[in-house]
Symmetry: C2
Subunit: 351 residues, 2 copies
């Protein structure tokens, strides 16, 4: 029996309503397994900008630092869409959180659900056996390298920079994840063009000796973007840089048939953060339409990370049973359609 | 009646055999429409490294500069695959050619063929109406920005740099291409993270006033990678930077069902270059197995660019008729399977 303090940053759009279902399920897990979860709410994203002027207020960051885990909803509001260069933007809250907390690894599992193959844009035969994990570097690369303007603003640049230790720690995570799965690791890079990619390859090749049981291979990012569509089942673990991971994980996220199914964790030296991969879907907010499964499965990843693997598995079993019953939110085109709240109730009840 | 000098860089692997079919078809066009094409061969890629030590010998570059067009096969050899940091590599020939000739725009049309929807990894309903053109910037960005090592090699960086004139000329091409098509232009960038992307948006937004009939929209690259799979028919013309264009054009190239179908042109201030988008497929080389259609359609793009639009259309009609007859190379899983040579013969005969 343990107590956990969960910093709960439910954010914008559908964030609050899907987080609510995650909490419902976690509380049910608490009852069943004898744990107590305390959820401390704090603002992030557009709501935080409205309340405090900052997308990541200091109080929110402090709360995150002293919690056992961060449960994150989604951020973003249409009023920022037409001005990506606005000085204050919701995304900055997320980027700063990653950097400040040292969340250097973003893990995104993608698997097909047998009952849902009809939803995938891919033909069913291509989805057979799809079960991969994308390990994306999250606090380096072109996201955080030097950037700026010259020539009175008419020249703009961004620097993609990686150091050996930054690469080592994320590639280590890739090797270890592969060891717990099907023992295959693919480094995705553009080593025929980029110097930083060449360093990734060097470091990864050197480290391979420590993992003799892992089958390591290399793939250029353009080819990887093709292979994810042509034959996604070939992948076990993919490890890659921040920008390539952003692109490839979004591309692979559509394979499962709905963005509403896919969880993620962001981990590193300090407290971990767990969030659905979908965005804030402003048009759907407050309408009881959003699929809470991505958030509920993110809660399961949180439990795994807190050492409660049995509990995490119980959530996954409950989700699978609920999906197998043919009930689902509208995105799943289900036999029996339910709303966000009812979906949360059903999964909690299935525990 | 005109004469054209075509620098013919057939390159490595299957390059020579597909180029041979392109020449066959061009010669047939010449007979039919009264033009003469002279094909001057010159080495590039791995064969050029073997012959001269350089992936782009000066003689090859000189020939290109004084020709009317460049007909390019493919480059690459497996002996380079395990060492992307080798000092001399086949790709360098291609990158140098683009830069030296000022080929700043890479145009890749992607369309579905009704007869071939069964080959696409996407479900048939998703392929309906797919007809897009990717306009990729080809001589700037992270490919050609400053790159290097520091800290005794343990830090590596690449710079993505764009200037206003570089952006203006490629975006102009995007707007104009859209004007000749369905009047929709999508700029793909990562303006919520990259300063260079913010400059792309600024410049594009400013230019939009000159093209009041074009519907302009903006999309982040991670979302674009998803949308290309979920709903590729939404796109008309996509304009984007070098690296994003590399990734997105490879991703979208699989939609049509075979890489062996897709042509490209690289154009700019000087002579244009025309090549299939597929690579050198070393395992298939010399076996009469490669699909020559991508190369033959690249020849059609070359004719368009030389002002011979009627002639280019004639090639496209001949290719469509041949595909419609159910004959094809093995990649097309055809009713009647033929080899590279016979496919070239059939298309030439259909002219
Ligand atoms: C919102 C944006 C900055 C972010 C990113 O690119 O990292 C998002 O796309 C993601 O993948 O989490
Ligand atoms: C070979 C490589 C350097 C090249 C590129 O990335 O530009 C290729 O992938 C392409 O797209 O033409």
């Amino acid at each position: 029996m343990s107590n956990f303090n969960i910093a709960t940053l439910d954010g914008d759009g559908i964030g609050p309503e899907v987080i609510k279902q995650g909490i419902k399920v976690l509380n049910q897990v608490g009852l069943k397994f004898g744990h107590t979860f305390r959820f401390d709410f704090a603002p992030v994203g557009a709501v935080a900008i409205d309340e405090t002027g900052s997308p990541l207020p200091d109080d929110t960051l402090d709360l995150c630092k002293r919690s056992d885990a961060i449960f994150f909803g989604s951020i973003g509001h249409p009023r920022f869409d037409n001005d990506p260069s606005a000085k204050v933007r919701p995304e900055q809250g997320l980027l700063k959180l990653r950097k400040e907390l040292g969340l250097y690894a973003n893990l995104r599992p993608v698997a097909g659900y047998d009952e849902l193959t009809h939803l995938s844009p891919l033909r069913p035969e291509r989805m057979k056996g799809v079960d991969m994990l994308i390990v994306r570097e999250l606090t380096g690369g072109i996201y955080f390298g030097e950037k700026g303007r010259r020539d009175g603003g008419d020249t703009a640049y961004d620097t993609c920079l990686y150091t050996r230790p930054e690469i080592e720690r994320i590639v280590k995570m890739g090797f270890e994840a592969a060891g717990n799965r099907r023992s295959k690791l693919t480094l995705v890079d553009k080593a025929n063009v980029m110097e930083s990619s060449r360093l990734w390859r060097e470091v990864t090749r050197e480290m391979a000796g420590q993992y003799p049981d892992i089958e390591l291979n290399f793939m250029f990012v353009d080819n990887a973007a093709m292979q994810l569509i042509l034959n996604p089942a070939q992948f076990d673990v993919i490890v890659t840089s921040n920008m390539f991971g952003d692109i490839l994980s979004d591309a692979s996220s559509v394979l499962a048939g709905s963005l509403g199914l896919l969880p993620s964790s962001s981990i590193g030296s300090q407290v971990g953060m767990f969030e659905p991969i979908h965005g804030s879907w402003p048009e759907g907010a407050g309408q009881d339409r959003a699929n809470p499964i991505a958030t509920i499965l993110s809660a399961a990843m949180m439990l795994d990370h807190l050492g409660l693997v049995k509990e995490g598995d119980a959530i996954r079993v409950a989700v699978n049973a609920t999906l197998a019953s043919g009930t689902g939110t509208e995105d799943l085109n289900p036999k029996k359609k339910v709303g966000t709240e009812e979906m949360g109730d059903l999964i909690a009840a299935a525990l």
